[in-house]
């Protein structure tokens, strides 16, 4: 990857969509609570964001910030018991939060596709690649087995799998990690969804393969006009491929705006911290800067600003609850955002 941030501005992928069009997905005040037996904890609190048609939006944050939970909530893939979800998720004029299981089944795989982090375990080991893609097609379209198989072959060809006709009769175990992730992408896109949720799609792969898979995702998204919600902890990948990004911290959105602006001058100390932790090739420091401390668990949330215990700019007002406030084209959840000038990526 090296110094990827330099390319942030020149990267044309997923150029900002016109703001006049209605958003494809509009999430408002999404909260998720779990019952752990004794009490309710809320690992996701009032998450709001929009994704425009064809747009590539990144969600960044450390592990345990609620990124994956946000993705799973959109598709209603949370456990059925001991879990409560509130808020609104307007998708193509339909509130996903109000849909029941059978309604959601028509959305999953058809209108919203999803790719998971672990290609090694996300495919069923005892069915062939072809079976797994074919059944997705047949779950959503009344087509013959033959026709569904043809579509599977086309989908595999589209993700750059050599000899897709052989691949359909192969089992996942005979494919490499990169190939399996291509199969996952083919499976997620075979029904031509309007939105693709990619939850850390490259984290489990070799670095050389990561770039290939990202390029493939962006290329397919651009070609088919599919919007992509890209979840990662790799800011470099976001800089390369996304038009807009959200920073999540401890179950909240703390910053939201165009990638180029945020990278030049982050509005939230946490985003600035993430940027500062990126390795820089040009000036090798003796020690890689990092954010001290760790993400608070849902059991011990700080009462005011959730980032305050780890923030180096903390002041008395940070003791109070923080709101996500507009700042130009962005939103920032920090009461000191107007006073602070935070260091951006060193371009």
């Amino acid at each position: 990857m090296g110094v990827v941030l330099d390319r942030a501005e020149v990267s044309g992928a997923g150029a900002a969509a016109t703001s006049s069009a209605a958003p494809l997905l509009s999430v408002r005040d999404l909260s998720v609570s779990f019952n752990d037996g004794d009490r309710w904890i809320q690992p996701l609190q009032n998450v709001s964001f929009d994704i425009n048609p064809g747009e590539v939006v990144g969600i960044v944050g450390e592990s345990g910030c609620g990124k994956s939970l946000t993705a799973l909530s959109i598709l209603g893939l949370l456990p059925l018991r001991g879990c409560k979800r509130t808020g609104q998720m307007m998708f193509e004029g339909q509130d996903l939060a109000a849909l029941d299981e059978s309604g959601m089944r028509k959305v999953r795989g058809r209108r919203i596709g999803m790719i998971f982090q672990e290609p090694m375990s996300a495919l069923d080991p005892v069915f062939t690649v072809g079976d797994q893609i074919t059944e997705t097609v047949r779950a959503h379209f009344p087509v013959s087995r033959q026709e569904a198989r043809e579509r599977a072959v086309e989908a595999l060809a589209a993700v750059g799998i050599p000899s897709p006709r052989n691949c359909v009769s192969m089992y996942p175990m005979s494919l490499s990690g990169g190939m399996r992730q291509r199969v996952m992408i083919a499976m997620a896109l075979v029904c031509e969804p309007r939105l693709l949720i990619a939850d850390e799609p490259t984290t489990a792969l070799d670095v050389t393969i990561q770039a290939q898979i990202m390029d493939l995702l962006i290329e397919l998204g651009t070609r088919t006009g599919t919007a992509i919600l890209f979840i990662t902890h790799n800011l470099g990948l976001v800089a390369e491929s996304c038009a807009r990004m959200l920073t999540m911290y401890a179950g909240q959105v703390v910053e939201d705006g165009p990638v180029a602006d945020i990278l030049l001058q982050p509005g939230h100390p946490y985003t600035a911290g993430l940027l500062g932790s990126l390795p820089q090739v040009r000036h090798r420091k003796s020690k890689l800067p990092s954010i001290a401390g760790r993400v608070p668990s849902a059991y011990e949330m700080p009462p005011g600003c959730r980032f305050a215990p780890r923030c180096s700019y903390v002041q008395p007002p940070c003791e109070t609850l923080q709101a996500l406030l507009a700042r130009g084209a962005r939103h920032v959840r920090c009461c000191r955002q107007d006073e602070l000038t935070l260091p951006g990526a060193e371009a």
């Binding site: 089944r105 028509k106 795989g109 998971f116 375990s121 069923d124 005892v126």
Partner: protein, 317 residues
């Protein structure tokens, strides 16, 4: 899949040492049984000379390894010898008795699969519910219950009490199918209870693992229906565990049959081997053991082949 013939070949080669080992162990163990077959053969009030003569005649004076070698040589040619007691060819005795045992074992396995697997699925899809708790605790009980005790309870209530089933005996399946099934029902049920419990427990735990796996979550993300997820992907994923388990249960059923056939006075292979062992009828015991070993190995081979067909991972290992 191309590994399948290799797998079969490998298993057939393994068959040979297992058969030799099993029959030799039984042959040696029979020497420890108190009593002398020559004395039995000579009948009551036989003279010492007569007993010696018989010992020579039957080769019983030879060292153990020679006796075994002679038996094995004949067995390879398809001659399992004659019963020391009735002089009937061992092959014939087995042919008469074995069908009864196979009927009970098969019947029992079918009952157990039809009840045990759905119970396991029911519990696994409702983990922590009352149904799950019930299935789990009844299964623990079922595993612990001795089949002969169950058999006695069943006979006391359903045969002697309600006269629903015959208390003892067996009928030939081909001549009187209804009577044969009716006679086999109680022994099959008595044997099945333990197998049901084992199947329910193992299917439950295997299925729980599959249901919480990442690839199962992928199925939901693809928009599949819960039914297709469970019956297509869930069961296919546990089928290897299930088949392996069924193979083990076949072994268990054949050994359980020895006791059950005694309780129900069924002329099966189990009671044949028990009676012959007590009376030191070596050739019969050896013959039955040989046939049972071959059956058990054949069942395990079939399990391996099906596993290889069902799970690509099994074929390559």
């Amino acid at each position: 899949m191309s590994r399948l013939p290799a797998l079969i070949g490998r298993r057939l080669w393994q068959l040979l040492p297992i058969i030799i080992f099993a029959t030799f162990v039984v042959f040696s163990l029979l020497q420890l049984v108190p009593g002398d077959p020559a004395v039995t053969l000579a009948g009551d009030y036989a003279s010492k000379e007569r007993i010696e003569e018989i010992r020579k005649l039957y080769g019983l004076d030879q060292p153990l390894i020679v006796q075994y070698g002679v038996w094995l040589l004949h067995a390879v040619k398809g001659d399992l010898g004659k019963s020391l007691l009735s002089s009937a060819p061992v092959i014939e005795l087995i042919a008469q008795r074995l069908p009864n045992t196979i009927l009970i074992a098969t019947y029992s396995l079918i009952i157990a699969t039809l009840i045990g697997v759905p119970l396991g699925v029911l519990a696994a899809t409702r983990v922590g519910s009352r149904i799950d708790t019930l299935v789990t605790s009844v299964a623990s009980l079922g595993v612990a219950l001795p089949s002969f005790w169950l058999a006695i309870i069943l006979v006391a209530n359903l045969s002697l009490g309600l006269h629903l089933f015959p208390a003892t005996g067996a009928k030939p399946l081909l001549v009187d199918p209804k009577g044969a099934l009716l006679s086999a029902t109680l022994p099959a049920v008595a044997l099945a209870v333990g197998v049901i419990a084992e199947l329910a427990r193992q299917v439950r735990s295997a299925l729980i693992e599959v249901l919480s796996s990442q690839h199962y979550r992928t199925l939901r993300a693809k928009g599949l229906s819960p039914m297709s997820m469970l019956w297509k992907h869930g069961l296919r994923n546990v089928s290897v565990t299930l088949l392996t388990l069924l193979g083990l249960q076949v072994n268990r059923l054949f050994s359980g049959a020895v006791v059950i056939e005694a309780v129900f006075a069924i002329p099966g292979a189990g009671s044949l081997v028990a009676y012959s062992a007590i009376n030191k009828d070596f050739p019969v015991v050896q013959g039955v053991v040989l046939v049972l070993v071959v059956i058990v190995i054949a069942v395990n081979l079939a399990v391996d082949i099906f596993n290889a067909l069902l799970d690509p991972r099994a074929a390559s290992s």
